[in-house]
Amino acid sequence: MTKSITVLLADDHELVREMLAERLGNEPDIEVVASVADAGEALEAARDCAPDVLVLDIDMPGRSVFEVATEIRKLHPSARVVFLSAHLTDQYIEQALEVEAAGYLTKDEPTSRLIDAIRAVARGATHFSSSVSERIVIDEHGAHLGRDHLTRLRLLTQREVEVLGHLAQGLPKKSIARLMNISVKTVEKHCDHVMEKLDIHDRVQLARFAIREGLSQP
């Protein structure tokens, strides 16, 4: 008889978690050994039962699921991690690739895709949603999100990002200079660089960009 793939499920939505546990439990080669509601519990459960595959929801309260995934992989290097999320963001994908996730699926995909993914990663392959896999690039350091998709915020220095945040809040340059303990001329220089790098030349668009990037809270 083929050895069952042991799976740890972590999702804060009880209905989803229970449905997945039941659905996976119906598969002959998959055994759900733990079903938990947050990343911290997942770490504890992984210590106890050392599952082959961890299915982790990304949007859970409490500890960062990516940190926990890293810790679990240190404890059990052979453990394979499949991330689940309700929607995709560049940040999620980049972080998932950083922790060398074996898979990444979105919840709008049929559950059968998750079952396929569990089987694939259990045998050493990877399994990503097509919208994720098409954006993965291989470089000298492993696998990452393609640079075309990285936010233009990455073009700015930390100092320029700070100036952009203040500008988006509507602060005059004098106040920004005072806040950052630099001269007004330096603030103006940062502004010019920010506008040049982002190719945005008016304050409204800058503010919108900053809001979109989470630099300014509405």
Binding site: D11, H13, L15, V16, M19, L20, E22, R23, N26, D59, A86, H87, L88, T89, D90, I93, E100, K107, D108, P110, T111, A120, G124, A125, T126, H127, S131, S133, E134, R135, I136, V137, I138, D139, G142, A143, H144, G146, D148, H149, R152, G170, P172, K174, C191, D192, D199, I200, H201, D202, R203, V204, Q205, L206, A207, R208, F209, I211, R212, P218
Partner: protein
Amino acid sequence: MTGSIDIRQDRDPLARGFPWVWVGSAIVLTVFMFVGLAWHVRSTFEVGREVAESYVASDRLRDLMTELQQQLATTAILLIATHDPSWQTRHLEVEAKLQEALRETIDNSASGYNQAALIQARDAVRELSRIESEATTLADWGEVNEGLSLLSGEEYRGWQRRFLEASQLFIDDHRRFLNERLLIQEAREVQSLGVAFMILLLSLAIWIALVRRLRRWGAALDQASRIRRQLEAELLQSQKMEAVGRLASGIAHDFRNLLTAIRGYATVARQKIQGDHPASHALGRVEEAADQAEGVIRGLLTFGRRSVAEKQAADVGKLVIRGVGWVQRMVPASVELQTDLADDADGLWVLADPVQLQQVLLNLVVNACDAMPGGGRLHIAVDRVTSGASARVTMAVSDTGCGMTREVAERAVEPFFTTKSVGEGTGLGLSMAHGIVAQHDGSLAIDSAPGRGTTITISLPAIPAPVISELPAPDTTALDTGQGLVLLAEQHPYARQIMSTALEAAGFTVVPTADGPAVQDQLSNTDENPVLAVLDARLPGVGSADRVDWLRRAGYPGPVLLVGGSFDDADATTSADDSVFLLNKPVRVAELKRLALGMTRANPDKTGVI
């Protein structure tokens, strides 16, 4: 809905600093003017006083000289007539006094007196004294009449006349001198008046400049205030849309979780019942409803920019041309569709997800058609707008429909806001368009008025046309599936897993290896001949210069995909070999898959020849 305010013009007009130079100049000019005026007042009064005093003094001198000369004549006559020695003494005193007065006046050159006239007067006095002396001598000899005749003679009167003329000349010249001095002073004052007038003009110019500067400052402050208000309004709108977007995303996130459970349980239930079970139909309806709900969630997530965009260089003009092809089917016959694509030399390129942009076009066209139930004209225009150093590509969709009120236009992009009848629209079309455009760093503007139709313009940052205008679409029908064994040699374990899975997904059987010896083992032990070798250019255990030769020596003659960070001249030589392809990292997984399929098709005769 959007504005374009150049931040570089939005500077504090008062931030240039206080004009100390102007103020300093004004103070210096004022001080100079008043000090100069005081000096001129003093100088004028001084000159006036000196002239007046000199005038009186010269008159007195002339009177004194005339009187003394008369006294000389009188005393001489009386001395001759009376022989009284006291007249002799008196005569000598008067003569000495007159000579002394003349000598002093002649010596005082600073007084500006006419020296020549005085010398002439002095000579006349000497001649008169000589004649008087001769007359007294004659009187002493007893020839009184002859003496008196000399004093009344022509010569004596002549010298008296000359003395008087010299005195008159002296006084006339002196008065002329004094008048000239007054005229010089007057000219100097006129000059000073001119300078003062110039200073006054300069001061006026400065004041006028200050007034104009104040007006400019006022105008700049007005403009800054206007820009600020506009900025705040637009920022408020952005923040509102952002908040609504977050709310929509949050709802969609939770709703999708519930939907996952619903769909999952429906599947579980379907597994547990027979195909002709009475509940089967109901389960089918549940799944159908869940699929529809999924569409709503996708729309909400797109509005909240929680969908991912596969951005690439895209020509909006070509996208519209392609889009119009299938959009035409949705446009009623009563609506006339027109397109207007700018013929810009720089192209209409943007960095965007083509699928999402076509989604925007579709949504805008659907809305436009819905606004013209009785027919009308639908116009799609694409243009490139350059402002300074930045350029944008705009796509405007206009209709001649019923239009919107300002209130409706302001809320048009809010999710679930619709003016359509229940069941005719989700209220997400424009929201999704807004979300997509925002995700592409663009803006969406609505220009509409009731009865005047609507124009919705999206604007995206333009990019230069790529060197290769458009990659040819891969022949997916021919390249869909690969077959055979692929030898994959990649040192990085995670990258190896992903590459391996991608190649397997393409239909290949993959043999993953981590270093040179493992490759050699695989080549010597496998029964099946690889159709392709994908080789990491920095694979441990393989020389850096002759990787393909090394592979050939290991017994593999087939196509090689050499993947690396950088390649040298030796690699360039290697690449001349048709069966070798150099691929620079970073490498897209999708690209790897396409290349593997293409290389195995292009080299069928070179594979499997071990």
